[in-house]
Symmetry: C6
Subunit: 262 residues, 6 copies
């Protein structure tokens, strides 16, 4: 695979090395971090770097074990087995990435257990088949510790099966490079947006569940690149998506004005 | 498409320009605003303006990911895949509008994630197909911040994937034009109804969840145009739909009397 | 249709005119009122008056959107679509009446939305069909504000789509005519029953959820017409159906004795 | 039908006449009363008396409208409609008896509505058929006001559709005749059991949900007729079924000893 | 059937006679008692004694009426009815035993009603068949009054349909005989275990839901008979199964040491 | 089977002997202990030692009786029965291991009852088959008493059917041998990791649900063996998987520094 086929990712530390070590040692990885800080991009980058096919699943309240492992479908009057993404990843020796794993139903985390200890196997109960994961197979899960519910946490018996990596918003130099590259703006405008992002993230004491993500900085940049006035672009990309409260919105707009006010 | 085929919409600000910028930059849009203020009409107007086929879904408690993406139906003993409205919109490169998205089940908001970041793809897990959204495809969602439940909010990880626009009741000049055009009454009667609407919206301190919408003003106008006495038309269109409480109804009628009393 | 085919309905005010205006203006109607006051009869009367086929649905906890719109049935190995009553009413240009609409599941009220704004359309998501309602089609819903649960109310975004009419027990002259006509008794006995009904409805301070309905007065009349002693007929038709509490029943019987005591 | 084919029932008052009047007037009947006082037997007796086929349904938490009305079954690759007991009763012009109707799911009580007002019709939504009930058809429901849950009551809009009859334990002379006839014992032993039943029902202040039913008196009689010692028969038939509490059981046994002690 | 084919059961009182009387009088029986005191064995013994085929069902949270009565299965494109254990018992004129009946879903207890009054019939609603129970048929249910939940009790209308028998742990002489016979140890060791069991059951004030059952005494005996040291056998069979609390376990071990300490 | 085919297990006490005694006496076993202390490995070791095929099921919230026992699948238009893992184990006379049994739905624990008393039978209700377990069959269940929910405990009537064994983290000498063997490091590094594990488990007073498991010590060893710096390997394998709280993580890192600090 040519280097240019590898999705752009600007490392913030040794996360690429830790990930590669874990893969070589056949250990599963848990990635923790806030919304929009680049977890999904990082996994796509590493999968390409290691030459592994990538199977991504966005987890949700109704995601069941059958959605991961597979199910029977009726065809021509017969039931035909149809592999789910986890089973496909095991057969292909690829990387299976479960995004926001705590959102999934409990039975899904349990099908991961035999894959995350020394057995590295996937029993498919409905067919009786037991798959032995090839050396290349890797399981990666992510979650956001910032807004977990009481009812939505990983059980210790699941957590203690993973090597864990903490992510945070990228350092300013890294984030600036990302905004410039993805947003299609010049370095100076990217810096102003990154500085604004930093200021917005420090707006504590308000009902903000999370600070403005790198993704939203890129949105603002792209709207400006499209010709929208800077201040209005920041308003619709960096204020309105964060809150519905008039007071909070006013505070966000005041910060925007310090960088892009008339 | 001839201009006369474009649904009537009276802009209140730069919302048409912001929407067009977001579409050109392939960014999804979140529309916030109260009941009956014209969100659905705005989306229909913009879809026609941009020449996009429109796929509208009214979200509700039981709307599942399968309702959006599609499902297998049995035909002639075989299972046949049947695209849902979101998949249809992606294939057609059209506009998919999810009205009151917070009402939907959680799994529906998660299928939106891969469509709302730079991947712009729709994985159809049940068939194994992965669709790449064409440049024309746009996702628009709306919700009403005025009466959200604690359990019914957009997660930050979903919100931070959208450019957001706030809507409110239109300015009097704009609303008057809408009531006149849609209600089939003359400008003077339209003005009296719009003034009444403004007064009714200021009736704080009562158990009114929401003020009278522009839609209800149009209803009152149409009943008058049909020959119903003005005061009675206001009563059945602007008082009874808003409350069941005798005290509140009396207060609403008193306000109606100031404009249309005998 | 001959006038004699129109179900008997004794108007209490201008409700027939308001209903007819709303139908001519293609506006949906919400009827509010207590149990057994004649809402269902009124709708049947108006449907016959306007020459519209009537499709009535008694709503309940498990009534889903599919029950209204339709569903696929398996026949000869194929799935065949089967219209629900709402779809039948739209196709026939008739009147669809949803009795006690707040009892239905939330997803049912949402399928009503595109039919209750200017679009007047019914998208059938499972088949991909979109029906445009013909001019004759009218949607009518009813509910009883007297014993709504906290969890069972119409959302403002639904309420504000209807012209609303309040019903109450009929005026004595009207009710007397109804009891005479339906109960098969003479005018004098009808008057005594209507007076008794009025007294029973004033029995506040007891655990009565609702006062004796016009329907129960008709029941008592019919039992008397069948030869049952008047006092016993009132007991089984006007006391026992209203309460299980001995104190309340004694109070009800005492009132009955004032009219029909030995 | 020969009189000897009519199930034995000892009237306690005018309940047979009221029931017959209601049937002649085509009014539905609600029977209220404690466990084991003879409600089911009374309905069987009246059905035979009036020459009506009887369809009995014991209601429970999972009884749905489909269980009453009918459902589609698959046969030979086709779906075939299969009438439920309510539909069978309507078609046959018979008596449908819903025992403990408040236990059923809410949607079942609502399918009863069109059958319990002047329409007397049963719409079968799944097939589109609408049945008109023949004159002979009668609907009877029962419930026990003694241990209703807050969540399990009849809504006023349902209650006010029935003529209601209150049942209680039979008067001593009547109960004695029942115990003698059903229990196979002589009149003197029957009297002792009936006196004991009366004493046990007065045991207030203990955790007894309900007093000993006539049915349990019959059980004790039959065990004695089978040769079991009287005191032990009372213990297993009149004490142990009523409570698990040692104190309450001791009190019950003390009362038993006053009639059948050594 | 040879006496040696009848499962061993050591009577504690007149329970065998009461059971046989009830069977002869066609009355259903309710057995109350703690875990592991021999209820299941008693029923097996009586079924063999009376020459009745036995159908046992362990009840649980998801046991539905269909699990007891039967259901349709698809075979060769047709639906075929498949009797459940209750229906099998009725057809065979055998004994149906529902163990821990309060654990079952509410709809299961209600299908028992027509079988437990003088009708003795089983209506199979899904097929329309009504079975008349032959004279041999008997229904037996059991439950444990010691740890009932508030939500898990028998309704009075169900309880009052049964003759009831209370069970408790057997008297020492009886229990010793059971431990000797089932555990394969000599009388002296059996006595020491029974004495230990008595002491453990008196350990009040600790978080013990229930005292050591006769079954666990048999387990300890069998481990000793297999060659395990007595003290360790008591630890794994009589302490660890009863609690996870270190304090409680220490107290249990202290009692064990008084009988089997070094 | 050659000894080298038996999974490595380092005994901590007499657990192997107790297990073998229970198997010879056909008694089921309950294993209690914290996450990652070797319960699963122990069972695999014993199954191989005793020459029994092993059927492991990881229990979860949605695991139903049908998942254990089996279900009907449709094939060629017929329903075909498909054994679940418990049924397979009974037929094969093997060892069925239910990991974290308290997580399963209540109906699953009840299907175990007839297998865990002297009947040793598995009734398959859906097919009517009753399997008699062969002498070799053994049932083993495990759970973690450390973080049971109130709603997730074994009922006494289930617990009192098992011989129980308590597990804990292995003694240092045993754990060191495990880390050396599984982690691929020399004895000295293994000792440092085991000492660190002991220190981390004593970090009371913090929001740690459970201390670092032996498995995580092995993970850290393997990352070091792969070339990762020791301190960073401990951070990602022994700190990040245990907590998300900054304070707790700082405390964990401080302990790590005492062993592997610069």
């Amino acid at each position: 695979m040519a280097a240019t086929d590898i999705p752009f990712y600007q490392p913030a530390g040794d996360e690429c090395e830790v990930f590669a070590h874990a893969w070589r040692q056949q250990l599963p990885v848990l990635i923790k971090g806030p919304t929009g800080c680049g977890k999904t991009r990082f996994v796509a980058h590493m999968a390409a770097q290691l030459g592994l096919p990538l199977f991504t699943v966005s987890c949700h309240d109704d995601l069941s074990a059958a959605d991961l492992v597979g199910r029977h479908l009726i065809a021509g009057g017969d039931t035909r087995w149809c592999d789910g993404p986890l089973t496909q990843a095991v057969r292909a020796g690829g990387l299976c990435y479960l995004d926001e794993v705590v959102e999934a139903r409990k039975d899904t985390t349990v099908v991961l257990h035999p894959l995350t200890d020394d057995r590295r196997m996937l029993p498919i109960e409905r067919t009786g088949e037991v798959l032995q994961a090839p050396p290349g197979f890797m399981l990666v899960v992510s979650y956001n510790p910032g807004y977990q519910h009481v009812l939505k946490t990983l059980k210790p018996s699941t957590r203690q099966r993973f090597v864990a990596l903490s992510f945070d918003f990228p350092r300013p130099e890294v984030e600036c490079e990302v905004v410039r590259h993805e947003g299609g703006v010049d370095a100076e405008l990217a810096w102003r947006l990154v500085r604004l992002g930093g200021q917005l993230r420090q707006l504590g004491g308000h009902d903000l569940d999370e600070g403005a993500s790198t993704r939203l900085l890129v949105y603002a940049a792209r709207l400006m690149a499209s010709g929208m006035p800077a201040r209005r672009a920041c308003e619709v990309a960096l204020a309105e998506p964060l809150s519905d409260e008039p007071d909070t919105l006013a505070a966000l707009r005041a910060v925007i004005d310090t960088q892009f006010g008339s």
